[in-house]
Symmetry: C2
Amino acid sequence: MEVTSDSLDERFGRPRNHTFSRSGVRIRRFSVAGQSQSELAALALIDAMKNANIKGDSIDLLISACGVQEQALPSTACAINAHAGLPKGTPSFDVNASCLSFLMAVKLAATLLSVGTYRRIAVVSADQPSRGIDWSEPEASLIFGDGAAAVILEPGNSNQGVQSFLFKTYPEGRSLCEIRAGGTLCNPARGASDRDYLFRMNGKKVMKLALQNMPAFMEELLASKGMSVETMDLIIPHQASHLGMAHMSKRIGVDPSRIVDIYSTHGNQVAASIPTALHEALASGRLQPGKRALLIGTAAGLSIGGMVMDF
Amino acid sequence: MEVTSDSLDERFGRPRNHTFSRSGVRIRRFSVAGQSQSELAALALIDAMKNANIKGDSIDLLISACGVQEQALPSTACAINAHAGLPKGTPSFDVNASCLSFLMAVKLAATLLSVGTYRRIAVVSADQPSRGIDWSEPEASLIFGDGAAAVILEPGNSNQGVQSFLFKTYPEGRSLCEIRAGGTLCNPARGASDRDYLFRMNGKKVMKLALQNMPAFMEELLASKGMSVETMDLIIPHQASHLGMAHMSKRIGVDPSRIVDIYSTHGNQVAASIPTALHEALASGRLQPGKRALLIGTAAGLSIGGMVMDF
């Protein structure tokens, strides 16, 4: 369901324009109460299969690439598999690299395809940050939106695919962006409070750590094949926040016109952000066969990830 | 800390031998209250690095392959990275295929090594089922033990490595073995009860579903290269339960003498079971260079996974 920033202002008795001016989001979507994360993911996968006229029985592997799991055990992929009605036996597992789960899953899928382990792989990202918002957080509560997106990957021709990939983790930032509970660390038996299940972020520190490491990261990502940001037809960033995206584009020196920015109409959809932005770029015709795109972003952890892909 | 079945009988006022006769476990380990899952994992990784005389700065990638995460966000791998003191930037992410996370992570790592993306990859599994035991469950409460194990993988010679790999998911079994809470489905804001954070299992139905699919699975796993169970020097199964392991060895037709069975002294350590059994096989000299092992098991989901590896 669509949630405007105006309606959030109203709900919390805040002055008009408060939420938009602070978050940069005009509208985001929240799942209805009865819709699970895996159901949302399955809808995206079914839509992708339909669009490409692909039947479930030709999908060799399903990778769930969400930022947060649906439940502690088993994997979210099992539930997506069930809701999408994939054939009995379709191998399914989760990859988790927070907001960069999609990027990592695509890299793994591309590698598995390249050696022939599988011939067709579905990667699905779905997140429901609305289920973990702490409405007392003045910053983090305003930026998120639920969402799901899926891709189906198969071997391309020799001009297509992943041209460069880099992923780096700086765990000194792991408590800057977290949901403490939900696993072995913090649960009812260990004295967790209800707030431990909500998302908490120190946005300023996250951004500082990310920007500090970004220049060297970009250099390493693009160095391998003598690439440069200028040769990218399109930049598809994780839609972290309006400030984060502005700072990043400045830091890597790219003109905003080449950036896919769906943030104001979707918010930060966690791991679903990059594939949703990719979908928008393809659906709108901004991204076409023969084009080169840079997928890039940061993730709770803190990780930075980037991928140059030829379409 | 070591927990004998006798001490559990005492703790719960049960007749002597009750816990052992029902579970087949004589002794298991429970983490002390202050030790986190990622600390446990890091100890295993540091131990592996020490044993192989490998320094952290030569590890190109860390994959956390646990059954349950340490917290909902970010990935467990970030925390393991921090506790193991890996160099700044070491890429780290999670793979989750429940009890078969290790198997899947090794397959992914082997594939990444084979195409040269990375040259040395650490895979670490750690689980603390003691944090999610429902002591009112007459069966599931008795079988688990905490544990951690790590491997460091690098390209071998042409006679080594993964010879066959198969993974299948049957999501009709996903509610037979689960922890419902901890993610977007079930949390305090959505009316979760404390019991939702505890592990629940229908052991009989899990076993039935697994055994029903096992013969066809084995055939497909071994068919690719004309292998047979008889040519395996060693079988390293997931240490699910004593009945489960007995049924499985019968179903796949292997003599118990070729099975690595550490169940009675460790219990079911979730995703850490297979790598711990692998460690025991290597440490005891049962598994040596030139030998062929079959790693096999089932996982909540329900998934069945198998890998033939030449050492």
